[in-house]
Symmetry: C2
Subunit: 403 residues, 2 copies
């Protein structure tokens, strides 16, 4: 049951971007599992991929194709990751690109393949072959919702959002979708995100703006610390609004809107995190640098003991304290550390706050959305990440998935 | 339900070492929760403590006392960690040492305090005061079993073992006990271990031998990656056998026996790991160095997705592959990586082994004790660690403990 998340609505078409989805029977029955995105030929594209050494064949192929040509088609399947599939996996990833390219009359390097799902099973290329003509016929600029559903795996809800930005030259649109619920952590975990805009933007600028937006969104969320072999986040700008950045202020406005869309999508992954019953924001304040702020934040976020206490709505602040203490910060002066649960100070100067009562902590923990603030007293760097709790359902989902 | 572990039996007394245990009512009702160990005045002692920055008051006090005097008494309570208790916690830890010292007519720095249990509650010093006279009267060299029971927290079984070693001068004895079931990871997680021997050994030698034994035992096990504020492992040598190391071979024999006792106790923590249904050995072979071997091993061992697959007896080797891939090894050549599940090769040269069948993997996963071997093809360093699975009961125990 997702925490504070409902199905997307009011998704806006993006000029120059069309989508389609269908049930190709790749693994699932009775639901869409293949999505296609078509980009206008003037589009610019930026993408980041998983840093997992065992990255899947489609990741390698998509990276290669992006370096060689402008992307025109993104073909995204769920149900099969085409990972751990060796040389045959590369052949299969290239084969679906070729099939797509033949039907769409483009170079095969203009097609980017994306796969998500079970690792180690051969990709059923024939299912793609049968589905591609229908997908091409069905392309429509209003199909964001059905595409967002087709790329889901253990997600309980599709995740998508639109924002309008008024630049000095007029209004542009950003619409994005994402999938992912478990195996989530920074550096592109088991997630795919595709964000499109009709703004005019050059190849260098889109890379920079994409990188900045990813850094404070998808690189700040964790469910279980596991990264997958298939993650990618792609920003596509069709340029078909004819509106670019006339002034520096335009770029700032657009970046802010982009950041907001990315953050919403990244948080949606957590809100729909496998078995999640809590949406947890972890703020680390007064760190000496960002690295140590994130080290403390992720140590707390990944601690199974903290996560099970969150699931139990138990204000067991000792577990938070212990996780902070083992986060590997050199020369931590524990006497300067404060910890707040929501508005309640639970640890002051390294020990239980004199003013703290269990009832206060319980009141915060009983909520669905919880903020844990850790103040280190070492510098002036603040960071924030988002995570979920560890519930019976997390174990159930991950013990039963695939079997 | 512990995996392949039963209650200790045939524990041997160690000359010069007496123990006692009682129900002091520190937190639990109807069970012993306080243990005392008395050492002969000629004893040498070596200890390692948690590296958690928020180490508990008794850890700080025990370290200080060890540096100042020969230890004569170790006072160990369960039910209360005396951690996160600020200045009052230090006063309390010193107060119980003083109470003990007065009754036993020794310096208070000859008393070492150890606490394990809930964080953030004040230590009930009066309970210690009432219990100490009875403990002193009850000291007996055969009380290892009851002491091992008194120090338990979420353990389902006491953990202890004896070994005899025949040195050139005669036979010496090693008897050790440990507690711990969750919050277990290297560098002294939520565990306490006390190992005693009657061998004659000097202060430098005992430190070295202790460090070596710890490194390949307690520093090679993980349940959930969480370290606590209170962990310690203490080796005590009474010297009362009158037998020392006459030859280098004696020292090697003794170290081997010590290693074996430590490894048994460390593995017992995992076998009794919270909610454990599997005992898992993770071997990393052909690493370039120990650091990368352990990095791969712990990434796999801490992966919630691998752990839930183990719980489900699901040969989901893709999750193992993904964990290896995200373990942060620079320039990993995935084409050289093999993974075996027991005797079954599941991944060969980075992809599903051609010979592999799901039935083979299932047969291995159906067992209670599972060996995962990961061959990196990067060098000649092999390492091994031990861990458990992630079950419903892990969540249940940690969501319900304390409430």
């Amino acid at each position: 049951m997702p925490v504070g998340l409902s199905s997307p609505h009011d998704l806006l078409p993006v000029k120059g971007v069309r989508l389609a989805a269908c049930a190709a029977g790749i693994r699932y029955q009775g639901r869409d599992d293949l999505a296609l995105i078509e980009l206008h030929e003037d589009s610019t594209v930026a993408a980041v991929f998983t840093r997992n050494a065992f990255c899947a064949a489609p990741v390698v192929v998509a990276r290669q194709h992006l370096a060689q040509a402008s992307a025109r088609y993104l073909l995204i399947n769920s149900g099969n990751a085409n990972a751990g599939t060796g040389a045959a996996g590369f052949d299969d990833a290239r084969a679906v690109c070729t099939l797509m390219a033949e039907q769409a009359h483009v170079d095969m390097v203009s097609v980017l393949p994306f796969s998500t799902g079970v690792i180690g099973e051969p990709l059923p290329v024939t299912a793609f072959e049968a589905a591609i003509p229908g997908l091409l016929k069905g392309l429509d600029d209003s199909a964001w919702s059905s595409a967002a559903e087709a790329i889901m795996t253990t997600d309980t809800l599709p995740k998508a959002l639109s924002e309008k930005v008024t630049l000095s030259g007029g209004e542009v649109v950003i619409t994005g979708m994402a999938k992912g619920a478990g195996m989530i952590r920074p550096d592109m975990a088991t997630m795919l995100a595709f964000i499109a805009t009709d703004v005019v933007i050059d190849a260098d600028q889109i890379k920079q703006m994409h990188a900045q937006a990813v850094e404070q969104s998808f690189n700040r969320v964790t469910v279980d610390g596991d990264t997958s072999t298939n993650d990618a986040c792609v920003l596509m700008a069709s340029g078909q609004s004819g509106i670019g950045f006339a002034h520096e202020q335009d770029q700032l406005l657009f970046q802010a809107a982009l950041d907001s869309v990315y953050r919403h999508l990244a948080q949606a992954l957590i809100r729909d995190g496998e078995g999640a019953t809590k949406f947890v924001e972890i703020r680390v304040n007064e760190a000496a640098n960002e690295q140590e702020a994130l080290s403390v934040a992720y140590t707390v976020a990944h601690s199974p003991l903290v996560k099970t206490a969150l699931f139990a709505s138990d204000p067991n602040w000792g577990r938070i304290l212990a996780a902070v203490g083992r986060s590997g910060i050199a020369n931590m002066d524990v006497d300067r550390v404060h910890i707040d649960l929501g508005d309640v100070r639970i640890v002051e100067n390294g020990a239980r706050a004199a003013s703290y009562t269990e009832a206060q902590g319980q009141a915060v923990m009983d909520q669905d959305e919880i903020v844990i603030s850790i103040t280190l007293g070492r510098g002036d760097v603040d960071s924030v990440i988002w995570t979920s709790d560890l519930s019976f359902d997390y174990v159930k989902i991950n013990a039963e998935y695939r079997t």
